[in-house]
Amino acid sequence: MKIEGDGYAIEHAEGTTSFSGSLRLNGTAEYQPIADFLDESLEAGGDAVQWDLSRLEFLNSSGINMLYKFVIGLRKRGNVTMKVRGSSEIAWQAKSLANMKKFLPGLELEIA
């Protein structure tokens, strides 16, 4: 499964959803197709969610809002494990990905 647009691509394969490029869509409405794609990936992947964001260079605040809400949804759903991989080379990831743990304390984060 794959969704792509201007400057970005998101692919779900072998249980991992990989983000790459630069996500700079405008507002919740434009992010809805991606939110739906993540929901579908969750259905396909069962109880374990794995995200690889290490090639996502830029994510605007509407984008991080969408990801955080997805994580909140996972916590409410319960019985789901989540692993997130990020890159120390991309300045925004260290802090913003660590904040995901506030919504899902059990989340495993790897910043390499």
Partner: protein
């Protein structure tokens, strides 16, 4: 997930609250104990859920603000870096190219060429190669940069675009891009050249002090005509510059000019003959140009044009200022003539009785203002730089 906030409060919750409102208004008499407990539990569950949602909303708000702040700071840092880079770039690029890049016009494609009528100026230092062999590289770089800085300053004052520095040589052009018609461009170019010659005196002193055995002298060549301006180079490395026979003619004129002299083509001379005095210097042949080029050596300003140059003699309300004049073996005839004019003006000002001088100065100022007003209305299309100059001129008297 389509709410802006992660708070789940649906129609069922709304109905539950409505039932509570009815109960509290009508009294709890109609409610049995089990029903009241059920209702209470439901409300408690709603309250818990809302508390959790509000916690999430608070965290979400804080985390997004943090994310935005990181991005904003990164953006500011990047902007600062770009600004610094642009400033650095400015020093290495021609004015023209710099404006094109910063203004977003530079495409770097082969097709972006234009034919423009320009006045092209070349200058170089007489015997510079010999100088480079006789002094320390540090001293050389200092005095050369001092010289080039002064030339660039004068060029900027006249609104010329520095195309490039080639060692000690300077290439400048005036034309369309600066909003100058051919006549305005040629006049600004020649006036700039005269001012450059006049400014060499104090620089010569520095050259001597630096231990150069050759005096500072320059040659200047100017030609006016159509040139091709645009991006030339390889796919990897482009340069915005001028090419064409008329550029070669300007360069050749410079090579043929006497030390301390300005040699112009007939094409340039025709555009400036009412403001300068010049002498014919015969014809020269330029490779690739079919007809021999008729040349003229500029001797100096015509009397009515003298105030156009940044004068060494500057009259003031209560007197005047005379800037340093140094004359030596290297001082060319053109320079000597300009020095003489400045000194004559200073002597004339000194000869006047104080009160009378003041009245005359005031009268002259008034008539000059009138004349420059007339001139200014004629030159409406001239550039900002030129109009600045016009207003400056109105306050200047010889």
């Amino acid at each position: 997930m389509d709410n802006e906030l992660p708070v789940s409060f649906d129609d069922e919750d709304r109905a539950r609250l409505e039932r509570l409102r009815v109960l509290l208004t009508d009294g709890a008499a109609s409610l049995d104990r089990d029903g009241a407990l059920d209702h209470g539990r439901g409300l408690l569950e709603l309250a818990d859920r809302l508390v959790e949602d509000l916690d999430d909303a608070g965290l979400l708000y804080g985390s997004i603000v943090e994310h935005s702040t990181t991005l904003e700071n990164e953006l500011t840092e990047t902007n600062d870096k770009i600004t610094q880079l642009i400033e650095k770039m400015k020093r290495y690029l021609s004015d023209q190219l710099y404006r094109r890049i910063v203004g977003g016009q530079a495409e770097g494609t082969e097709g972006s060429h234009q034919r423009q009528h320009l006045s092209v100026f070349f200058s170089d230092i007489v015997g510079f190669t010999n100088i480079t062999d006789t002094i320390e590289p540090e001293t050389l770089s200092h005095i050369l940069n001092r010289y080039l800085n002064e030339m660039a300053r004068i060029c900027g004052r006249w609104g010329g675009a520095i195309d490039k520095f080639i060692g000690d040589a300077v290439m400048v052009y005036f034309g369309d891009d600066d909003g100058l018609d051919p006549r305005q461009a040629a006049r600004a170019c020649v006036r700039m050249a005269l001012e450059m010659l006049q400014s060499l005196g104090p620089l010569r002193k520095e050259w001597e002090e630096a231990g150069t055995s050759f005096p500072l002298q320059i040659r200047i060549g100017i030609n006016s005509g159509f040139c091709t301006a645009g991006n030339f180079g390889s796919d990897e490395r482009m340069d915005y510059t001028l090419i064409g026979g008329n550029v070669n003619v300007a360069s050749r004129l410079e090579g043929q000019a006497p030390p301390g002299g300005i040699l112009v083509s007939a094409a340039t001379y025709r555009l400036v003959e009412d403001i300068v005095e010049a002498e014919p210097r015969g014809k020269i042949k330029v490779k690739g140009v079919a007809q021999p080029i008729e040349t003229f050596e500029i001797i100096g300003h015509r009397e009515e044009d003298r105030t156009e140059t940044e004068a060494l003699f500057t009259p003031e309300d209560e007197g005047f200022t005379l800037r340093e004049i140094r004359v030596g073996e290297a001082t060319s005839d053109v320079e000597r003539r300009m020095y003489r004019e400045n000194l004559e003006a200073a002597l004339a000002a000194l000869a006047k009785p104080r009160a009378a001088a003041k009245t005359k100065v005031a009268k002259k100022k008034a008539s000059k203002k009138k004349a420059s007003k007339k001139k200014a209305s004629k030159k409406k299309a001239a550039t900002k730089k030129t109009s600045k100059k016009t207003s400056k001129k109105s306050s200047r008297r010889r």
